[in-house]
Symmetry: C2
Subunit: 226 residues, 2 copies
DNA sequence: AAACTGGATATTGTCAACAATCTGCAACGT
DNA sequence: ACGTTGCAGATTGTTGACAATATCCAGTTT
């Protein structure tokens, strides 16, 4: 048998993961110029695999390269961040509709459990924006996967979410927003449980629309330094 | 001055473009297992840049790699191809709406000219499916760009279109479809010219929906070997 | 004094050799 | 006869050295 547990992690995969998480967590901030050998010593690898990983990251839009000049972490303008949410709106709307049609009952039960845990976190850790953000991410992650649309999930999980998370830790959530967001999540799940794809799509689009308007408001208030 | 015309094409860029077009044109068919040194001799380059390009292609989902086992061109199942059109429907709907809000008058005029040229091609080269396909691609390309949504255009032009074009040359167009599609294109452009984003989105979604149903019909008839 | 030009330095792009791993075939045992 | 096991070959992953290019600083010029 050709070793089915072929979880062979290559150095390039390792480099890719390390860099991606470093960027998302903010250890490498947007706009930072980073040298290849700096990264090599930092992550204990050589330039070959690193460059391969850089190619992947560039292709995903997390960093930009100029030949012979160097690599820098991509820096989104305020308007580009807003545009990102417009894309999320239509794509996650589709994901919600397809999830309503295709998720198993078990997955829906798990989704409900996720929201319960999320609610408990909001009650307990009042103001803990980090957990709120992670809980939100988990919710959207499950729906993207539940859509059974391979490419859609790939684009959401592999592209958009990483870019959104890059900036999420800067977006201080408004006072009542987490609680309101939870309510919106619950209604989406109920629509999915009723297998009402059309409603699920509508509610998801409205949900992300609200998040976008929230960000736009902050930008106008100057609360956001991008 | 630091050479503003810094169109420095690296070997990796070259490799990336060559491979991408080779895949899209069908010279490398879906499912083909391809060796690195084969590609090296084929495109006159060494393995370093090639591997970087392979990383990018993999990240874009055009090919899949198994460590130590090799690279093969991705092969979409029939259902995955259909799912691709569902994604196009919502994303290009958004693109059309934003294009209606943001395209310049000049761009709209160019778009009309494109359709005129397209119409002439349909009349002249009756049955020339290739030109039909390229004309269709050009139309959608212009609208994606006209949306002024950087990330949206990047995802459409850099991801989805390449995958669609990969399979388009196999999809023999139905008898009256090109002419009907042209009519749909014209109505979309008129909506954009009237700056009616909502209508443009609706018409674009319906347009791609029709294309999807066309493909589904062919699949059911068994005209499509995927 | 400000702007430009030139070269030194450091960084990136590229290459070719080495090591690790998978695939396919053949021999063996059951 | 069939399945398993071990080996040989080929292919991929990795490494370190070499070449090409952009950046930075100093000297010069206007």
């Amino acid at each position: 048998m050709p070793e089915l547990t072929s979880q062979t992690y290559t150095r390039a995969d390792e480099a890719f993961d390390c860099l991606q998480t470093a960027i998302v967590k903010g250890e490498l901030a947007p706009g930072d110029k980073i040298g290849e050998l700096d990264l090599c010593s930092r992550f204990e690898l050589t330039r070959g695999p690193l460059r391969e990983a850089l190619g992947r990251l560039e292709s995903r839009g997390l960093l930009v390269r100029r030949p012979h000049a160097g690599v820098k972490v991509v820096s989104l303008s305020a308007s580009e961040l807003v545009e990102l949410y417009r894309i999320r709106e239509v794509m996650e709307g589709l994901a919600a509709r397809q999830a309503a049609e295709r998720m198993t009952d078990q997955e829906i039960a798990d989704l409900r459990a996720t929201l319960d845990a999320h609610e408990a976190m909001i009650e307990e850790a009042r103001g803990q924006a980090y957990y709120q953000a992670e809980g939100d991410y988990d919710f959207h992650h499950r729906i993207a996967t539940g859509s059974r649309n391979t490419k859609l999930a790939q684009m959401l999980l592999g592209d958009l979410y990483y870019m959104v998370r890059m900036y999420r830790y800067r977006l201080s959530t408004s006072a009542g927003r987490p609680h309101r967001a939870l309510g919106e999540h619950r209604r989406i799940v109920e629509a999915i449980a009723h297998r009402d794809g059309e409603l699920a799509e509508f509610l998801m689009k409205r949900h992300i629309n609200a998040a976008r308007r929230n960000i736009e408001k902050k930008i106008q208030q100057g609360d956001l330094t991008i």
